[in-house]
């Protein structure tokens, strides 16, 4: 249960990218580009490069990465859960 790292790319982002493999229950230090940090507890595995929710996101809620909307939650997402095609979808095309 050692502390793991994740990178958030914009102050407004509600998700971060795992900088290493994160296991269920791991405490995660989220590093923002401007130097700010915050903590989130992983509730499931989030492999290196995959996304972890920083806050609870309602179904239909916007997913923010790079400070931009990359899609919406297709089901409720809890803080610490992995975000991928099983619970998120894009809005384009």
């Amino acid at each position: 249960m050692s502390e793991k790292r994740a990178l958030a790319l914009h102050p407004q982002d509600n998700l971060a990218v795992a900088a290493q493999d994160i296991g269920p229950g791991d405490p995660v230090r989220v590093e923002f580009k401007d130097g700010a940090t915050r903590q989130v507890k992983a509730v499931e595995a989030v492999p290196f490069g995959f996304k972890i929710a920083l806050v609870d996101i309602a179904q239909g809620g916007e997913l923010l990465k790079y400070g931009q909307v990359i899609g919406r939650a297709s089901q409720p997402i809890a803080a610490g859960q992995q975000i991928h095609i099983h619970n998120a979808q894009g809005q384009r095309a």
């Binding site: 990178l7 490069g49 990359i70 894009g90 809005q91 095309a93």
Partner: protein, 395 residues
């Protein structure tokens, strides 16, 4: 000083010193087998049975390759039947290439002459041009003579936060120095086009960016296809990218932060210096050919890969005449194929380097390769097939 480049009569500087045999095909291939220091294009489609618009693209690519700073001299022949279309006639192409001031030779067979005659004359001419080209000496020149093109491939989450930003960093440096930098992949700006439009040098360019992005989305719908079933590709999703918007937002990081001076068609030469968006296709067999036709003297690939390898990482010089520098932002991918990867920006993710430190390291590598150092895949002896980016169906 930035790099050691071969001076060309039009004021450009080459990073390589090839003699180019055009068009592609059996005869050109055999001339290249005979003569060291030559290049030709390997492509399945010469423009025969293609629309005028697509034949003009072929012509633009052939002329652009011939004019590329990495080419010392050009030999053209008309043995392929497609070369009898008016816009593809060897004399027509030769005239446009010769405008750059470099030597161009057209080899035509006499009526009822034979193919072997062209082959023999081609070998003789190529040997002479290669010998002449060997007298050109590299000179010290600045970054303003770099003309770069970039593509990202098998993007994963590291591409948007390390691999692409490192290239974006050097694009900003090269543009600030007065050089040219090109990025593209129209299907990969969907969802990020509003951000690029804001960076356009003027309103006309902004509108053009929005138009080409809209057009590709509409083209997909026109075929009854959802572009999301094409892109993101399965390998992107396997590697953690969830949506097209997410992929696009990561992809545009490779463009840096400079104003966008214009939108180029595939193989079109930029009218000025600075950063350009190219309305092109994401296929790696196509995009680097387009960049070198637009004048790129070095090209960059940003590979994600998700830590996995593919046979594509063994592709050397897909732009035919310009070196291809393989980079990645993923340390696992780098470790998996270090024998082909020239650069890893994964340090930005593990925190051992800042983006500017990694970027400066990449810029130095580009200067070394531009000066004549091999990329790792330059050590391979084969050439992969290139594909011209066509707009229309074949008839």
């Amino acid at each position: 000083m930035s790099f050691l480049g071969y001076p060309r009569p039009d004021g450009s500087y080459g990073t390589r010193n090839y003699v180019l045999i055009l068009p592609g095909g059996l005869t050109s291939g055999k001339i290249c087998e005979f003569v060291e220091g030559t290049r030709t294009i390997i492509t399945p489609d010469y423009g025969g049975g293609r629309t005028k618009r697509d034949r003009e693209t072929v012509a633009r690519v052939l002329v652009g390759l011939g004019r590329n700073p990495n080419v010392a001299g050009v030999i053209l022949h008309g043995l392929h039947p497609a070369m009898q279309y008016p816009e593809l006639k060897p004399e027509v192409l030769a005239q446009q290439i010769a405008a750059s001031g470099k030597p161009v030779e057209v080899i035509t067979a006499e009526p009822y002459g034979d193919t072997y005659e062209v082959l023999v004359r081609g070998i003789k001419a190529a040997r002479r041009l290669v010998h002449e080209a060997s007298h050109v000496r590299r000179q010290e020149v600045g970054d303003e003579h770099l003309c770069l093109g970039v593509k990202c491939g098998v993007s994963d989450s590291t591409s948007g936060i390390a691999g692409n930003p490192a290239v974006g960093y050097i694009f900003d440096k090269v543009v600030a120095a007065g050089g040219i930098a090109m990025f593209g992949e129209t299907t990969e700006i969907i969802g990020a086009e509003h951000l690029l439009a804001k960076r356009a040098a003027n309103q006309e360019v902004a509108q053009r960016i929005l138009t080409v992005s809209h057009d590709i989305e509409e083209k997909s719908k026109g075929y009854g296809q959802d572009i999301r079933t094409v892109n993101p590709i399965p390998a992107n999703i396997e590697a953690g990218i969830t949506t097209l918007e997410e992929k696009s937002l990561g992809a545009i990081a490779k463009a840096g932060t400079s104003p966008i001076q214009g939108v180029l068609a595939y193989g079109e030469r930029p009218a000025g210096r600075g950063l350009y968006f190219v309305d092109n296709w994401m296929s790696m067999n196509s995009i680097f050919l387009g960049y070198t036709a637009s004048g790129a003297n070095a090209t960059l690939m940003v590979w994600g890969g998700g830590g996995y390898v593919a046979d594509t990482i063994l592709y050397p010089s897909l732009g035919v005449v310009a070196p291809l520098i393989w980079t990645t932002g993923n340390v696992n991918t780098y470790r998996a194929c270090e024998e082909s990867m020239d650069f890893c920006a994964g340090t930005v993710i593990d925190g051992s380097e800042t983006l500017s430190q990694a970027g400066d390291r990449l810029l130095e590598l580009v200067r070394q390769v531009a000066s004549g150092s091999c990329t790792k895949t330059d050590t391979l002896s084969f050439q992969e097939v290139s594909k011209v980016y066509f707009q229309d169906a074949a008839f």
